[in-house]
Each structure stands twice: as C-alpha cells, then as structure tokens.
C-alpha cells in the first residue's frame, strides 16, 4: 500500500532524510523508531504529501503523492505530531468538518462520526470546544479525525504521546486491531510499543534506515541476545568467573552483582554456540546452588542504543541489569 523509494529531504544544508526506502502492505503495522530529529516526522510528512520530497518517490495505493496527490490522500488517515485541532471549534464541529472535507454527507457522515466517537470515547466532550479539552481528549479528537473515513492507510506520528497509561493501552489495542485490515505506519519513542503493536519495526538515525525487521529480529541484534544470566549461591564471584572462563562456549562473562547471598553473572556466548550455552553453563556450575538461570532474548533498548549512539552503548550494555527482558 505504501511504497517509499530513495526518499531524500534537504533543509538548507541538512539532509533530514537521506535515501530512505521501505514498503508497508495491508495487514502490517510498521513501527518507526529513532532519536529526536532522526527524520521520522519529515518522512511521514512526505508520505502524507504535506511536504514534497527533494528526491525519491512515495506511492500510496499506487498513486504517486506528488503527481497524483488527491487520490493518494483519500486513502490516508493522518495524525500529525502534537495532534493539532482547530481550537475554536467543538469536538462535534471539528469531526463534522473533517467528515465533510472527506466527502461524507448525510447518513454516511452521521454513522462515521458516531463510529469514531465510540472508538475514541469522545462522547462526554462532544459539545466542548477543543481549546478546553485535556491533552488526552484533544489527542483522541485528532486521532478520531484520522480514522473517520475508515482509511486503508494510517500514518500516525506519536499516537500515544501525552496519553495516560490507560489511554496508551487503549490506543495500542486500537492500532493493533486496525492493523489487521490496514497498512499502518506509526512513530514512537516507547520501545515496549514495538513489541505490543508492531509487526515490523524500522530504526532511523540521521535520516537513514539503520535497522529493519520484526521485533524479534531486531532484538536478536542486541549484545545480550543469547547470553545466559545466572544466579548462584554459596560461591564468590572470582571462583565463578574462573570456572566459566574454562568453558569453550563462553566468549566472556561479567559479574553483575555480588553479595553475601550469592553471585549474579551474565555469560556471553562465542558466535554460533547460542543454543548449547545454557546447558554448558549449567553443567559447569554443578555443585553450587543455582537459583536462577535463563537465556536472554535480547533487548530492544540495547539495540536502539547501540545502533543510534554506538560509542556509549558498550557501557549500558552490561551495566544495568534491572528489568531483564
């Protein structure tokens, strides 16, 4: 549905987007990750036709967004960054305007508005002016606008930004459900959303795509992917390290925590021995009491960090062990 080919956008001397290509099919939810200023919003603005690309093409449903913008835009629902809405209008008035400009009239318009009001829980604020809404309601009002015409393509720029945890959960559920029948692309800073919502994720940095794959594939790129974390009691760190260092499967090991009760260590495998590492580690520490032993799946934030800021990633990679997943 969405095809992006060698997209480039230059602002003055800065190449905000520098040769980005990807495609999104119906039934896919593509997560767009990257640090601030990486070019996420600029790419989305080019997809929706708000700004023209310096070079490259975007087609939506087969329509080039520069050559043939109107039919392309008909297929797109767009939630811009910061969810702008006309502050002087009521929610009802705003949705009515959005429906009319999408060509909906009469019964079709009423039904469409009713549907999105229910989906986005806007009933209590329908006759309130947008100006007086809380951030969450304002955000959902703009979100409602984007799905009003039941578009085949959804482009959502930080759809969960500024929502409380319950609302975030609601919106993620909504995106996942709609993803079954639409092509969705959304940007986020929240890495857990990638797991709960996306079927595929792209990491973009300084205008270039630096990673593209399913959440599992991305996680496997993490340094800790395939590593074994174990906690043993009744031994000191030095003894454990020594024992582990003798294993042929181990590249290196690191002591994460050591106290009177025991030692927690992470063991990194040599290339291509992932599967047998856990067993060989378990055999090696026989005789001591193993309290915990598991293989790390890898962590998205680690991948994100190591890709987008390579020089500091090494420090973060093994230092923090809170929240291992």
């Amino acid at each position: 549905m969405i095809k992006v080919q060698d997209l480039v956008k230059v602002f003055g001397a800065k190449r905000a987007v520098d040769g980005v290509s990807f495609s999104v099919e119906r039934g896919e939810v593509l997560g767009f990750l990257g640090p601030n200023g990486a070019g996420k919003s600029t790419t989305m603005r080019m997809i929706t036709g708000f700004i023209p690309p310096t070079a490259g093409t975007v087609t939506v449903g087969g329509f080039d967004t520069v050559e043939n913008p109107i039919p392309a835009r008909r297929l797109i629902g767009y939630l811009p960054e910061n969810a702008p809405a006309y502050t002087d209008m009521t929610v009802a008035g705003f949705l009515n305007f959005a429906a009319e400009i999408r060509g909906l009239r009469g019964d079709a318009k009423r039904k469409a508005i009713h549907r999105v009001v229910e989906m986005c829980f806007l009933e209590p604020v329908m006759h309130q002016s947008v100006e007086t809404l809380s951030k969450g309601y304002r955000h959902r009002t703009c979100f409602a606008q984007s799905i009003l015409h039941d578009p085949e393509v959804l482009v959502l720029d930080e759809p969960t930004d500024g929502l409380d945890p319950n609302q975030k959960h609601e919106v993620r559920g909504l995106i996942r459900r709609m993803g079954a029948s639409k092509a969705i692309i959304f940007s986020t800073h929240i890495l857990e959303e990638v797991d709960t919502v996306c079927s595929r994720a792209i990491i973009i940095d300084r205008g270039r795509i630096v990673a593209n794959g399913t959440p599992e594939e991305l996680r496997r790129k993490s340094e800790s992917a395939g590593a074994v974390t174990l906690r043993v009691s009744g031994v000191n760190g030095a003894a454990l390290s020594q024992r582990l260092a003798q294993l042929s499967t181990v590249k290196r090991s690191a002591i994460l925590e050591e106290d009177s009760a025991g030692v927690t260590a992470r063991v990194f495998p040599k290339p291509a021995v992932n599967a047998v590492l856990a067993r060989s580690v378990a055999e090696a520490v026989q005789g001591w009491r193993i309290e915990e032993l598991h293989t790390e799946e890898g962590r998205l934030d680690e991948v994100f960090r190591s890709i987008t800021m390579p020089e500091t990633a090494k420090m973060g990679g093994e230092g923090d062990r809170k929240n291992p997943r």
Binding site: R45, P71, R102
Partner: protein
Amino acid sequence: MNAWSNIKTIAKRELGAYFSSPLAYVFIVIFLLLSGFFTFMVGGFFEIGQASLAHPFFDWHPWFYLFLVPAVGMRLWAEERRVGTIELLLTMPITPWQAIVGKFLASWLFLALALALTFPIVITVNYLGSPDNGVILAAYLGSWLMAGAYLAVSCITSAMTRTQVVSFIVSVVFCLFLILAGFPPVVRLLSGWAQPWLVDTVTSFSVITHFDGFQKGVLDSRDVIFFLSIIVFSLFTTGVILRGHRAG
C-alpha cells in the same frame, strides 16, 4: 462541483470560526461606530446639505479598511501555522487553492456582512432627501471590491508568518502603499518633479484612483478588473508562499 463543495466546506468552517470568537462582534461594532462617527462628526454629513453619501461616508472607507481588513485577514494562515492545523488541512483530499479560495471567500463574505450593516445610513439619507440610489449601490460594490483587495493582500502577509501581529503590521504597510499611491497630497508632491507617465503609473496602482469611479456611480470595467486582479494575484502569491514553506 467537487472543488466547489470543498471550497464551501472550508468557507463554512472559517465563517464559523469568526463567530465563535469575539472577533466578529468586536469588528462589526467598531466598524459601525467608526463609520457613524466619521460620517456625522468628521465628514459633516448634515453641514454639506447634499443627499449624497460619497464624501461624508465612502471617502473614509479606504482608511477604515487600512486597519480593519488586516485585522480580519491576519489570522487566516498565521493561526493555522501556529497551531499546526495547516498540516491537517493541506493533507486532506483538497488542493491548496481550494483552501486558499475558501478561506478568502469566508472573510470576504464577513466583510460584506459588516458593510451591509451600515444600511441605516442609506435609509437616513433617503429620508432626508432624494439621493441617487444607483450611485450609492455602485459605491457599496466598489467598497466591497476594495475590501477584497486589502483582504487578499492580508492573505499574503498572513501566509508569510505564524505571528498574527506581524501579519497585521506588514499588511497595513502594503495597504498603505495602495492608498498613498493615489492620495492627492502624495500625487501633487510626485507630479512636482516626476514625468507625467511615472505619476500615471504610480497612481494607477492606487485603490483611491479606482474607487473614485464607483463613488461617482460609474461602473468602469477597468476599475473592477483592477480590484479583481489584485485579488487574483494576491491569492496566487499566497499559494506560492505556502508551497515555499512546505518545500523547506
């Protein structure tokens, strides 16, 4: 037809925006107070002793509009850019010129309404004497066209900035030029040293020169075309500026 219904939808929203804020009411009240004050107190409506609106009433319009029309036009694009709704508007399945024309028409209709509400002065002059109502009608038409020209200039300045105040000031300056180019004292000053062809060229850019005919009841197609061409040119320029912002 599709284009027209898009323009209508945009214009309807824009008109609604005027009336949902105090702007519309404040504007209309001030406009009516000012035109009443100038007609009776400064213009000497009674002292002239003529059943005519040309001098006491319409003479002031180029000057009222200098401040009032930019106040109406300043928010058109500046506000959209400040709040960010321009990103919604221009990614809807409409062309930019439909949005530009829709917004312009809404404001122009609003000005027509304000102008129409001065009707008591027409009733007054008819009650006191027997004026030529054809002349008055022509002058109203000219006044409305002139307001449209100012408004279109305000569209340009509004598209240039996200700050309404900047838009207001710049468009006052632009409109002031449109007036002064034909303002008699300036013309006299100019004709003291400039060649006649230069004086003619400069004055032909003035709204005063072109409004004059309407005030006398003369509907000259050149005057109509002058105002319409300012409108068309300005709206076109607005489009170019908006495209320029988006192209980065």
